[in-house]
Every structure is written in structure tokens, then in C-alpha cells.
Amino acid sequence: MSKEELVIEGEKYDPSDRVRADRTDLLYEHIPEGDPLVTVRDLNVTYRTDEKTTVAVDNISFDIRKGELVSIVGPSGCGKSTILRCISGLLQPTSGTIMIGDNKCTTAGSDRGMVFQDFALFPWRTVRKNIEFGLEIAGVPKEERAARSKRYLKAMGLEEFGESRIHELSGGMKQRVGIARAMIMHPAVILMDEPFGALDAQTRNILQESLVNVLKNSSRTIVFVTHSVDEALYLSDRIIVLSKRPATIHKIIDVTGDRPRDRTSPEFEALRKEILTYLQTQNTMYD
């Protein structure tokens, strides 16, 4: 790979240029697809207040393989998002290590992109400028930024809205911008924190399909937190099922079948039933 030129999305990259903040995925080129890329070991998050000590995440270990989409599902308030925030570096775990390849994650960085439930878009920027934000702060020249954002506007069906303001968009369109803003940076791993949780059921389905379409053309490693079992089954290669708080791993389920999947197939139904039945036993609402 070292001598040939890398062509990604029509742009040529010099392989020696691989430490750029906008192409951190190139740092992990040597790891084959399907091998562990992110390793989470003995992750523990404990909140201490004067009155009491609350263990939110209890010594969890798991791997995220390169090129896969892993969902984390679990009962409400079990610490799904806490795990994701630890991987992102926005939250410091009480103990445990998170590695990407051979690099230990301590603070947040552009190698772990994030998509937020409430979008977290910048209202003072246009759609295009929101998508280009990461490239801009990485010092990518203006022409290249424009060329790259144009492709993501197209991939996300936002071509006509590049110069629109955020408040002019619907919720579904806002999250398309959020996904494009994270993906354009080619992070080593993309963390999605209930990305479709604020959307209505129909918009949700449409966005799930959009995500599947994007992943067909561009291999990405994604950790996807959701409270929707249906969504996890539709999107994931593997599903990590968590127990109630303090979160431990109940089971990791392999989901087979090429995407787009049939939401009504018998295998789908069986898995859905299995997971939902377990989650019901973990429901803390009636404790």
C-alpha cells in the first residue's frame, strides 16, 4: 500500500500524509476488516457523591471489529450512553482502558467521531459549513473542503440544502447533517448516541435505510447506542445486550443477513423476541 496512491471518494491521498486529523482511519489501515479495532477492557464508571456511590458501568470488556456496526441495547438508564461517552473521550472512566489499535484513548479526538441524539449542530453555520466544520479546524484547504462536503451533501440527499440554515431543516434532515459531519472526517470509529431517538417512526426508518446505503459504498466502523431492538436488528452486525444498572454484558448476539434486511423475517422475529423478553426482566421501573 505504501507506494501506491490511495484513492478515496475520488480524492487522492499521499499515504505518507496519514496523520492528518481528517483521515485518522488511515492510521489503522494495517488492521484487516473483521479484526478487533477498538478494545474496551474492564471499563468501570462509578459516580461518587457525598451521600452514595453509584456504579453505572461495572467492569465491561468487549471488542469492536473493524468495519462492523455494533449496537448497544439495554434497559433505560443502564449506562449505554455512558459507555459511548467513555469511548469518545468526553467522559473519563473510573478505571479500565480503551484502545484503538495500539493507541490508548484518553481525551476526545477526531479519530472518534460522534453523532448526537439532539444533533448538536451549529445554528450560526449553514448546512455545508456544519459538515465542513471538522475539515476547517483540521486546516483542509477551502476548495478541498467544498469538494468533499459536496459528496456528502449528495450522499445524504441534502444537495439543495447546502446553503440552508439549520433551523430551516426538519429533524430527519438535521440528523443527516449530523451523520455527514461525523463521516466526512473518516474517523477510525463513529459513535452514534441514539441518533434517531428524537425522530418519528417513519423518519427513523428512512434514516436507517440511508445509513445502510451509505455503508454499502463506504466501509465504516460504528458503535450504535439505541433503545430500539428493531433498529439494532435492522442495522447491526452484532448486538451487545446490557443488563440493568450497573451495566454488565448479558449477551453478544451475531446478526447475519445482508442489508437491507427484511424486518418481518422469522429469524428477525425470533431474535427480537429473545432480546425483548430479556429486557423486560431487566426493567427497573417496577422494582
Partner: protein, 268 residues
Amino acid sequence: MLTIEYDENNRNHRLVRSLLITIVSLVAFLALWWVVTAVMNDKNFPTPDKVFIALWELLLNGDPIGGHSVWEYIAVSLRTFLTGFLMALAVALPLGLTLGYIKPLREFTAPWIEIVRPIAPIAWAPIFVLSFGSQLGPALVVFIGIFFPLLTNIIFGVQRIDKNWLDASKTLGATQGQLFYKVVLPATVPYILNGIKVGLGVGWMCIVAAEIYNKFGGIGQYLVDMVNGGLMANAFSAIIIIAVLGLATTGVAEYVSKVVSRRMGMDA
């Protein structure tokens, strides 16, 4: 098409309505002023007709004592005001952003601000004029008036920043400096503009206090001279000039604040 026409009519209708209310309100105000001062029959509180005649005279012939043009007074006041405003902006902007962003620093300086803020600007006037002269002294009084509302608005604005914006920026690789210039600063602009609007209003409240000790210059000093000379109608005409100046500047500030906030998609 129909709905657009309907909206347009509705908009014009609302505009005419609010204009009418303003006019009726002003007329009622003048009437009330007239009745109250006529009943009081006190030469210290002239009826509006006397005040507007004095204002007309002032605009045409200058002041009744030295014969200086009203524009000379206004020019001095505007210079004082603008100097005070620019100083307040230059200090409050970096300070407010910093204090809003760095919590320990904000907590440390909060008592200082709370001690100094309640002191009336007029209390500073003699001290400032004595220490800094009749040029800088009055401007500093205006500075004090504008500074605190501006500062507290900016600090409030930084604290109100959506934490998700900062988190998102960090996961996109932003450094601390980039967070500040690309997120904190733009996100605070509507609050800065609102602080300017409020500060300008308070600034005009300080102009008379600021200019009390002036030998020449300033609409505030003119007012004090007229009161000392017993020319109350002339003194009230100065009040009207200050009111118009205040209304004009805060009106412009409010308009700019509204337009910019809307364009930034941040009119809450």
C-alpha cells in the same frame, strides 16, 4: 399565492396598528404631562408648550447664556458617550468571554463584581473627573454604566452555550483555542448584542452625572447650567434631547441585535 397575499395584508395591518398605538400613546403622554403640570402650577415643572418653545429656541439660536449651538453640546456628549462605550466593549468582551468560560475565575471574581456593580455611576463622577480630567473622567462614568450590564450579559451568554456544541467540536478535533473562536464566540454573539442594547440605555442614564463637572460641553452640563439659572423649560428641553439620543441609539442596537440573531438562527 393566496396565503402570501393574506400574510402581506396581515403584516401591514399589524404595522399600522402598532404605529397607531404609539401615536395615541405619545399624545396621551403629552396630555397627561400638561394636566399634571398645569394643576401643580409650579415653575420648576413647566408645561410642555413652554418646553417645546425652549427646545425650538435652542435648536435655532443656541443656548440662552453663551450662545453656543446645540450641536456643540451634542457633539461633546456623543464623543463622551462613544469613548465610554468603546472602552466598555473593549474591556467587557474579552473579560466576559473569559469569565464565562473559566468557572473558577468567574467564582473568584464574582464578589468583586457584586461589590462594585451596585455603586451608582454618579458616585464615581467627582472621583473620575478629579483623577482623570474633564475629557476622560466623564467617559469613564459612562463606561461604568455600560460595562456591567454588558459584562453580565456576555457571561450569561457563555454559560448558556449548549454543552453538546462543545462536545461535538471536541470529537471533530477542536483544540481549546478553536473551541473558543469557532464555538464560544459565535454562540455568544446574540448575548453580546443584547448586552450592548441594555448597556447603551444605561449609558445615557449616566450622561448627566458624567457631565455635571464639565466647564463646557455636553448636554448634561447644559441641563445643570439651566437648572442653576432657574431656566426650567430649557432644562427640560435638554431632557428631551437626551431621550431622543437614547432612543435612537438603543433603537439601532435593538434592530441590529434582532437582525443578526435571526440571521444566525439563534433568535430564541
